[in-house]
Symmetry: D3
């Protein structure tokens, strides 16, 4: 069960309201790399994990991310606090209110729709979606997803720090950024404490295709590196008339029952294209008689 | 520029139509771990990457994933081919058509809405969303995202193989699964050929918070592991009355201008809750006079 | 800050695995009336509320809803536990696995995509969206939203109870349902402890339109009730040739600058429809010469 | 059946074009609290309601909301009319066009993508989603949802009025705002004319949990109010080592069949984490030899 | 303004409840080709159109589509009416309720979440999205979108008719299908009554590229037809080493300021990949010492 | 299978970085009328088409659209290249960075979240959705969808050209726009080379309703045109008391079994509204004793 302690995990000291900056901060509240996405990624994994130590770690970190969600949400609330009251009370000249909330970021939506409270949207107002969560219930994949997610979150915090002048906001963002680094290290430890974690899962691959690098993109700029050179790689040049890698004629096939065949042929016949005609088209009609290449308008048949 | 060769990358031989199985295959056509998501993840990264070798690799793999999209899409098309004609032409008794497309998976949507063609939805009919793509334009994060994505895709293919009896489908799925393993190895090589790729990005963390593990979840089952024990970790027990990690009073603060303060106080006054009253509520009215604990109904004031 | 206690808020005792039932339970995990939506609705409000008592209550209840999310998620995890292992390990005949996960609900997606772990989707696999959260930062509106949300959640739990035979699941669902009733009562108290909470907000309405009921739907079945009869209502019959309620000619107008007028007229001229012609259309071409009403095919001009 | 009368319900008189203001108005056209959401909320309820009077009221109000949708859409169309022609016809210097549509709100999207016509998006360009509709087919819940929705819509109109200087727009917005108040009153009447409407639905709660208030959030600021004090409430302090409210050991359980147990144990063994090792990780590799705490790089086993 | 007449536009006579069939009908209530999408497509166009005749037609048809929405919604309501009462009242044995709503389509979601009322989702439960509406405010494009939309809706109705045995439902679906044909004819007339409607818009194309057909897909199956043969087309074979069609070196370029160049080089240097190394990777660590090709584990530097 | 050639299809020469313009260009990268939507529309159709010529054309054009996606993505990458490095490296004064990315379009999201790389969002940051793809697997409908889609894309390019001053961007956009015109012509040819393509599909309409025009919107402005006048149309005036077009009483009906009837009546009774009462409501309580029309507060019964 979750409990809450009224202390923020990190005391937040914002210098002054700035609704425009607030709308950028939403990136880490309701954005894809934000704290709710992090908390839910680890929480959904933790609930179903059978390994007691890893389960404990996942819930520890999920809980910390919820505490971070509260920190970043509080930053948003402080940055919008000035405008919020004025808009709610009509306590400023209309033209000033109008100018203040439409000065070049998503702050108008933040103020008008959400009343200045933190909302589950990113900095563009895009609604948070469960599509951000990539947990699939296999630890050797999920831990890699977590490592990647922490590295992305670290970068978004870094960018937010780069555009923030307010020292209190900068300080809190630095704490949050740092914790993403720490969490990444934890997930790395957890991944590598599973022996034989690569390839993930149980089924072996087909050895014919495990070590091939297909050079699908050709021309000036074609390059080699450790990902396609050296003993472990077989480098396959894909040619213009490349055949299927498993032979065959390169077409998909299926065996149909007779009545299935008949129906599909009937549908094909009904929608067959006549390649022996040059039909008048809607575009021909629409182009008008004097437009471009004049087409002789005749009906078929 | 992209070009297309009419040969499938892998010749597909499906035994017989099975629309129910087809709808499960959509998971890797239009699902979050599917081939379009993979292709777009690498393509959007490759376009903007400054490193020539990595850029080349990203486009190579993106192009291969598009070729896989065609393979899995062709599997779907073969599996639905029988039902498709019959539904389009009304070439089967209505009751049989009805039964065939509502036999326990999403095949009804696949047939009714998409006419049996592969569609950009997952096996539940959820529309593909750009939220599946987690590219952020920083290679040390993006490559980790790619590694994670390949490991997830490998697992989904493994699960699909586990529930498929058709040997031709199984064979093609095994090829696709194997390539995910190969791609993961390539991305791993690319990540580790960036020196000092950890932590990702440029800004250092705050050393006060880099090595702490906060034990946010307590009680029976609390566990230790390499992610929170050993020299590199400081294990912090979070107590019931835990203070903010940076001191302070645990409250967020902001300095407001006088008129901002006035407006926010005005709003607070307008919506103040009277904690000295026990008001009659809508629920009291709705519960009816004889329901549960009867409340004395009196008006305020 | 949030903390976690390893005890579930309510001990869950599931009789036996049932992945189909599990997929229905997702309705209250990742569905619109589910526990994450509830927790986030109150949490986003609580962070920005200025009233100390109400803020405290919002965070108390948000925290409890997170604890409920853990309970319902654990129910899902128990119900899928049997199938999960078998699918992951390929530890059952393929045909049986196939049959088990496609037996008539969304369980195939739950198993294939999410590996049997609870996921942020509803029972149809629809991804959770921030669009479910209706917090707008005005307590007299938000508390009404909360009252409504609790009443909806109560009903969904009631329906789930009605279709569940497992006594342990039924018992836990009854606890969760009961708490929604308790929360509704709390929010009712909080709403009515704001004096003059109706109409919400600050601006008065235009008295000309406050008490009118417009009878927009006419014919047999037209009815009266306390919502449109009695002293407080003026019942307005909307006639076939009803005029605008504020007079005027019923058209929208705007004053354009001369060059704006010129541009809009130019656009209108470019896309003007000739009502004096009966043009040949694409449909005419497509219908073929022998189809339905034969049209004389002539070109314009 | 619906019919349309060419008079707007309220004659709209806009002073002059203002695409920036237009984009804010979209909030009530295609936003979550906007008129389409309102119309569809009541319409979907009305179609399936068995009570003739309530059904009539729901359709009356749904129809009025569609008429409001036309009013707000016409405001948008007037506000964009100037820019629309100029962009369509290229009838302004490019730099001026560029400046005009990117001056600080979502007006660029409104103009570029939707050609200045009203679109089903909110002021940030977020696509309208069916997730905004919370109808569930139980009148005692749905009417509460309607009451809440009307109170939210009232507030959004109030905010739009606060930032609008155009007297014609302000006048029309005031009409629309006023009607939301009137509708709320109607829905209140309809709710309370259902006797015993609380708790909603039919199943009683478990009396053990109906009147308890769990104090989940603790620390300075803990407060009491009518929502958790007085005769009807039992106030429960949640402690650090809080036990499940129904006793038991706080763990979820399920009885597995033998082969299920075997498979889940096999999966657990395959992904077991070794807590007795301190493995070298990818982060260790990535940090480079000179970074932070140097780790001795050794392979496992 | 809209008005409502209590008569359905088409009297609906359903034989008996069938919740499974109801869930399929949702395709045309809340699906992409459904009646709400149609109504909103034409309504958003009509509001902003400057041509009086076309505007009138768009509103006429939008209004008719709203009336169709009511017809299809009423079909859904009738088909679910039996199950709805039983689920709401718990008036059937639990096991029977469970079986009834999980028998092979999305009916479980329709019943559990929406209480049997029509909902703005498609037959898979996918929420309706504004992304279905493709109005862009240019009549020569919008009318083509409308023509296409009507032809799609016609087909979905045809498929629903093919799987429906209930004569009353079949009859009503046939009416709705027929009206889509009639609407398509109307939109065709409106399109071709705009003279010179092709190409749409105002800007001419670059004549170098108007009549070329690029044969991007090569190999067995390459075909010719009126879309790429005949006088009007120049057929361009795309070769393996195809150059850009406008010459140049095929690379994108931009002129950067000095400090921009410096920053981008700094970023490139920071994330440069070393192609001269074969680094140990996370996958190598994870594969374990005995797995596949053993890699010598050495640290860089 | 797809292959890639490192030459862009069209060499792109951007004058100088302009992140604001870049964010507008996203409209055609990840927007509804953009190149990914186009490529996927044709690709999903081509995979399942039975007609060899049309299939070939669909794949040719899909492949060209992927090549266009690369062109427009490269434009975005060039336009953001300057800001990208500076934000990543913190290589500019914070205030300047802040100003640069929040100057009036969605460029802040593009930079912060996507790091300046092209992303699958439109110019407002709305995530790309599979809902943009309208392929349904019937060529006579799908080709019309393609014609419409090309005409929409042409217009969006035209608008982007109108607001772009950069000659290199303008030139590349003109190429892309021109190709949409060429593609539209191809799809027109393909449509009209299917004989009897109208009405689409196979089932005939009900002749009673094929040629009627229902005048649903009445009043000043009612107009006639080729879409509702002439020999082929029967013009039906819809009156205020219009009856159903198929007769009957205008109500939907269904035959219920006895126990279904009983349950639905039980539910109706439980939620019946008392129209003979004027109940006190929550709004009455909330309005306070001195507000507006004072209501006498009495309990029911």
């Amino acid at each position: 069960m979750f409990m809450h302690n009224k202390n923020l995990m990190y005391t937040v000291r914002v210098s002054e309201p700035d609704p425009k900056l607030a709308s950028l901060m939403l990136e880490q509240f309701g954005g894809p790399q934000g704290e709710l996405a992090a908390a839910m990624r680890y929480f959904t994994q933790g609930i179903a994990d059978e390994d007691p130590g890893r389960k404990d770690m996942l819930i520890d970190i999920a809980t910390e991310e919820l505490s971070h969600l509260e920190v970043i949400g509080s930053i948003v609330a402080m940055l919008t606090k000035g405008a919020k009251g004025k808009l709610a009370e009509g306590a400023e000249a209309t033209a000033d209110l109008y100018a203040n909330i439409t000065q070049g970021s998503g702050s108008h939506t933040l103020q008008l729709l959400y009343g200045g409270g933190p909302a589950l949207v990113n900095s563009a107002g895009q609604l948070w979606t469960g599509g951000y969560i990539d947990s699939i219930g296999e630890p050797t994949a999920d831990l890699r997803s977590n490592i990647a997610a922490e590295s992305r979150a670290k970068i978004i915090y870094e960018r937010l720090i780069n555009i923030t002048n307010d020292p209190g906001v900068k300080d809190a963002l630095t704490f949050l950024m740092t914790r993403e680094v720490a969490h990444q290290k934890m997930f790395e430890k957890a991944l590598y404490s599973i022996e034989n974690n690569f390839p993930p899962g149980k089924l072996p691959g087909n050895p014919d295709y495990t070590d091939k690098y297909y050079n699908m993109s050709t021309g000036p700029g074609d390059a080699r590196g450790p990902w396609n050179q050296g003993d472990q790689w077989e480098f396959v040049e894909v040619k213009a008339n490349q055949k299927p890698v498993n032979g065959g004629d390169g077409n998909p096939t299926v065996r149909l029952a007779a009545e299935e065949m008949k129906a599909i042929e009937q549908a094909a016949m009904r929608t067959k294209s006549r390649t022996d005609l040059d039909p008048v088209t809607g575009a021909d009609l629409g182009a008008g008689p004097g437009a471009g290449k004049t087409k002789k308008v005749t009906t078929k048949g």
